[in-house]
Subunit: 107 residues, 2 copies
DNA sequence: CGTAGATACATCGCCTGTCAAGGTATATAT
DNA sequence: ATATATACCTTGACAGGCGATGTATCTACG
C-alpha cells in the first residue's frame, strides 16, 4: 500500500531537506534514493520534486549549482543552507507535534 | 505550536469518522470536542468541517438528520454508516503506513 | 429594549501543493 | 534504428483547507 497525495502534502520539503543534510545531491538521485529507502512505497513525482526545489531555493533554504559533468546529462546540484537546516528542525518539531495530535484524534 | 493546513490535509475526514464512532453528533459539537481533545492545538475550521461532511455524506460514509430541538438553533446530526466504519479502518492503516514512511525519511 | 455573545448552520472564492502529461538532451545497449 | 536509462523542466488541472461572510435562535446585561 502506497501513500496518498493528501497525506504526503507538506512533507515533500522536509524530506528533501533531510536528504540534503547528508550532502549535496541532484534531483534524479534524490528521487531514486527516496524510492529505495521506502522500498518503492513512496515515489516523489518529478513535477512535485522540481516545484519543491523552486520553493526551497526561493525561500533560501537550499541553493543550486550546475555540476561539471563532461559526459552524460547535466546535473543541477542542490545544497542545504544554514537557514535550511534551521527550517528542517522546525519542520521536524511540527511533524512530531502533528503526529501526536492526529494520533490523539484517531483510535 | 499548532498544526499546519498542509499536514492536516487528508486527515479531516478520518478525524470526523473517529468522532462519530462514539455516537451521533453535530458539527458545532464535533468542532468543540476536537479543540478540547487537543488542548486548542488544533481547530477544525468551519468551512473545512462542513465541506468534509458533504464529501463524507456523498460517499455514503455518514448520513445526516435534523435534530428535533424545540429550543435553540437547529442541529444537523451525523451518524457513521457501516461503509464509514470500514473506510475508517482503511484510513487508519494508511495513516500507520504514512507515519512509518515519513519517519523513515526524516531524521 | 438594545446589544453583545454563544450556539448552530451554510456558501463562495481564493490559495497552494501535487501530479499527469508533455517536452528536451545525452549516453549505452541491442 | 530503437529502446532504455539518465537528467532536466513546464503547463494546466485538480482538490482540500480556509478566510470572509451570511443566516437564525437564545441568553444575559444594563
Amino acid at each position: 500500500m502506497s501513500i496518498t497525495s493528501d497525506v504526503i502534502r507538506g512533507h515533500t520539503e522536509p524530506i528533501i531537506l533531510a536528504h540534503l543534510i547528508d550532502g549535496d545531491s541532484y534531483g534524479y538521485q534524490i528521487n531514486k534514493e527516496i524510492m529505495e529507502k521506502t522500498n518503492n512505497l513512496y515515489e516523489l513525482k518529478e513535477a512535485t520534486l522540481y516545484s519543491a526545489f523552486r520553493r526551497l531555493e526561493e525561500a533560501g533554504l537550499i541553493l543550486s549549482y550546475w555540476g561539471n559533468e563532461n559526459v552524460g546529462a547535466r546535473r543541477r546540484y542542490y545544497a542545504i543552507t544554514d537557514k535550511g537546516r534551521e527550517a528542517y528542525q522546525d519542520y521536524k518539531k511540527d511533524w512530531e507535534n502533528a503526529k501526536s495530535i492526529i494520533n490523539s484524534l484517531l483510535k
